[in-house]
Symmetry: C2
Subunit: 598 residues, 2 copies
Amino acid sequence: MAQFRIGLAQVNATVGDLTGNSDKVIEWTMRAAEQGARIVVFPEMVLTGYPVEDLALRKSFVDASIGALHQLAADLAAEGLDGIAVVVGYLDRRTGLAPQVGVPAGAPLDAAAVLHGGSVMITSAKHHLPNYGVFDEYRYFVPGSTLPVFRIAAQGGEQVDVAIAICEDLWQDGGPVAVTRTAAASLLVVPNASPYERNKDDVRLELCQRRAREAGTVLAYVNMVGGQDELVFDGDSLIVSPGGDLLARGPQFEEALVLADLDLPAADPRLPAGQQRADACDGTTMTIERIELAPLPAPEPDARLGAPMIWPRLPDLAEIYGALTLGVRDYVRKNGFASVIQGLSGGIDSALCATIAADALGADRVNVVLNPSPYSSEHSVTDAEDLAKRQGIHARTIPIKPMMDGFAAGLDLHGIAAENLQARIRGMIWMALSNEDGHLVLACGNKSELATGYSTMYGDAVGGFAPIKDVPKTLVWELAKWRNQQAAERGETPPIPENSITKPPSAELAPGQLDTDSLPDYPVLDKLLDDYVEKDMGSAELVAAGHDPALVERVIRLVDRAEYKRRQYPPGPKISAKNFGRDRRLPITSRWREPRVG
Amino acid sequence: MAQFRIGLAQVNATVGDLTGNSDKVIEWTMRAAEQGARIVVFPEMVLTGYPVEDLALRKSFVDASIGALHQLAADLAAEGLDGIAVVVGYLDRRTGLAPQVGVPAGAPLDAAAVLHGGSVMITSAKHHLPNYGVFDEYRYFVPGSTLPVFRIAAQGGEQVDVAIAICEDLWQDGGPVAVTRTAAASLLVVPNASPYERNKDDVRLELCQRRAREAGTVLAYVNMVGGQDELVFDGDSLIVSPGGDLLARGPQFEEALVLADLDLPAADPRLPAGQQRADACDGTTMTIERIELAPLPAPEPDARLGAPMIWPRLPDLAEIYGALTLGVRDYVRKNGFASVIQGLSGGIDSALCATIAADALGADRVNVVLNPSPYSSEHSVTDAEDLAKRQGIHARTIPIKPMMDGFAAGLDLHGIAAENLQARIRGMIWMALSNEDGHLVLACGNKSELATGYSTMYGDAVGGFAPIKDVPKTLVWELAKWRNQQAAERGETPPIPENSITKPPSAELAPGQLDTDSLPDYPVLDKLLDDYVEKDMGSAELVAAGHDPALVERVIRLVDRAEYKRRQYPPGPKISAKNFGRDRRLPITSRWREPRVG
């Protein structure tokens, strides 16, 4: 067995920032080299960020990515980092003749490269392209059909063979994992950009264990960290043995270098460099392309690492809160904002949003506005003021009565029109302060509201980012209680006033109005929404699952009718298996009605 | 040669309306039978409408589509329509075992069926799935691999063999077209749902001519008509001979039954019913599945048709105007609105929108609001009033000064914040009147504004539908002039005041403001936007194409920065090769900057 130190650099890349992302690769490669790693693996498309969407179709951007890759190889060597193998994801294009009918030459590739000795030594591309949920990779990429294997010296001078697969190549059967076994590789490294979803970390570990067994190798999985529009990449990199033992695991939601000393079988010297065809066990064949890296002076660690680097898993609520916080922080930061602004109604949704924002950015960068109307309860103001004081965030109060009077001078409004007007005056005030002072506006709607259409377009729905749009109302309460409890356990003031958590929810757009006037209790509603929206059950299945037939009919009608509102809602961090965004794409114009049951 | 009368029913289906669409199939089959047609062909997925998007992934909807197909077969027979072969598109699922690795059983199919004698006689599915531009068919469907050929009696009792391909099967090489030649079919019928794009009708005719030659058959292409969210299907069905002669062609933007008497080679009696493998010339093989329809009493025409039914092509501007009008009419109608409302500023954009709406819906269903501010010019009011009077649309004037004063009581705003406030007060007034009276709000922004971000979110951008969002400013003027000229030629009052067309464009949000204060002249801007947005050129290509380097840098920065605004903009009819919508999907969070040139 050869002793081999590996580093997984789970870093936070930014889409389009080729220079910044390259600098990050150099910085983290330096750390890995200082720690004696022979190889450092970065996430999928770390050079370009992920997903680049239609930028993949722009010639100038593909050119720039390829140029940045070669520049990075040279820059690493210039920094004295030529003896460590660096695996980086980037955007490439297919060169040469089209290899098969229907696959154009020059088409974009979701690629990975090995940089070593100042050069790009070998490149390959993702074989399995995901095209479901939030992914549209058939739009962008053509599949790769080579498995790169590079031979590299381990600590004692023995050689090991390292293969590369990319992200979805793990999730589908056959392809690079199967070919890795054929290639008799010592180690399979897998760059990923795998978005966070509740409970996905359990799924990932099991998947990696299964694939390590199939490949017959140690498997090292490195995932991106950071927020990108509606996606949050959570890190959670991991290494498992062929027998399924967890050898190392990174933290969630933060950058880290995960190091491990691996004991790998030495490469079979009878396997020469060059190409070999192999059945990919998925209806295609692939080419194993084996190269040997030049023997360059490489880092030599002082001693074996001590205890394995295994960060503890976060409990469910902590994990969700971490995803929301990172989502907000990165949207704000990567889009160049210094601060945020939002309404604060005294209710639980805006209270939780403000708390997430303060945790993400610091209280001094969070601004809230209290906009009482003649229908606002006294506690709406006192609860909001209480929250601002507890957290030390900037608050100002702008009553909306004068604006309501201004509109009353020109318009005679009733019912829903009058209610919406109040919500819209508030939204305009936040937008005006955003335009005046440069804050990003946060929209505070939750997933239950978004599902049923209980929000006012251009009112409470205004904003550039929506922190809790994928959080059902019942989970909003859970998160608020959890956050307060965390504070209490640390001896801090709970950030959210108890009354905001316990009082019955109300939009306060009419005297004495309560959410339960027109919606069922949230636990009942959220269960139904989960089955209809996330599990895509039809009416018959919903009733069979135990939901009240009349409620099924009423609620799915609400959900179906609100599609046009969701289309204009700002993006927010995905935490569920199916968010309102890329995950769920329904026509606005549709006369489909689930059959009435019972 | 066998004489064979065919009908192409280019109808306007509605997404999700299985009952309504089935009724439409019965109604138009009846017309075709009355005219002596042996076969009537309907568009792709006519039963479900197209595109159904994620409804394709819902079990209850697929079940309903399959159920509706069988019900339709029975209903046709009950109406005495069992002797005419009816080709209908619908949503199916793959049954039986998965035929190859990676293709799940039970996956949705973009399918077509032949209904005859009260039964579903044969079904097949689209082989080539488009996954570019506005299409995401790899998300929804698995590819079909059979070519159905059905033998049917022509007028004199001779048999002919009819093959079916679906839409994209024509656009890509190999597949059903190639296999149709192998099958020695007499006729290839092609159901389509092909969205309108400027100049696409020329491309379609050439494509059909080429494929008819390749298939060695007469080719009958039938396309959907109608608006569906951002897509407009334009009809334009056509029939070409194997030699490329145009035998029939339908109108654009209206439902029609296109009839033709075809002289077809008789089916080769040595080719028996059953299955036969064939090279699809695209790297796959397909199965030819040949059946014989029972000899049922069929319609018998009195005599050959006279002159071929070839509707004249519309000139470019008429065609675009037709697409916009149908897009608006169908969005309003299919979403259950009775009327629309919009602002009328005296400028050309809102003038054109109101005119399109009045042409689409009738003037009595169009409501406009004049919202003068202290910065509004006198002509903004007089030009708007003039338009309302010319067209007889409902107009009311609500000055925004009282609302501005209301906000001034609580907020001290400057510059862009104060300007946006005015636009937002107007938007709120339209939304309030929409909520009060049930009108759909139309947003009147053009493509040049949307590209550069020269619009106010929650201000002039409010609305459920945006008639001219894919129309560049220079084309807005062209369409306005064309519409006035059309009226003049018919001896009618030109609907748009000349002054709205000729005056320099201004948002009138500050004293003396003109668009040209901050944007280049529109002809220069629109040419650059076309190259950057539609042709996806990078900065170097743009400069090489003759655009001013400083202008390139400024304008592409504006376009890149406005992505977040476009995300929240309402949908509107696509008329270009790349609209702001499904066609162009870019990240909001992106640090990619095209390199500075020169």
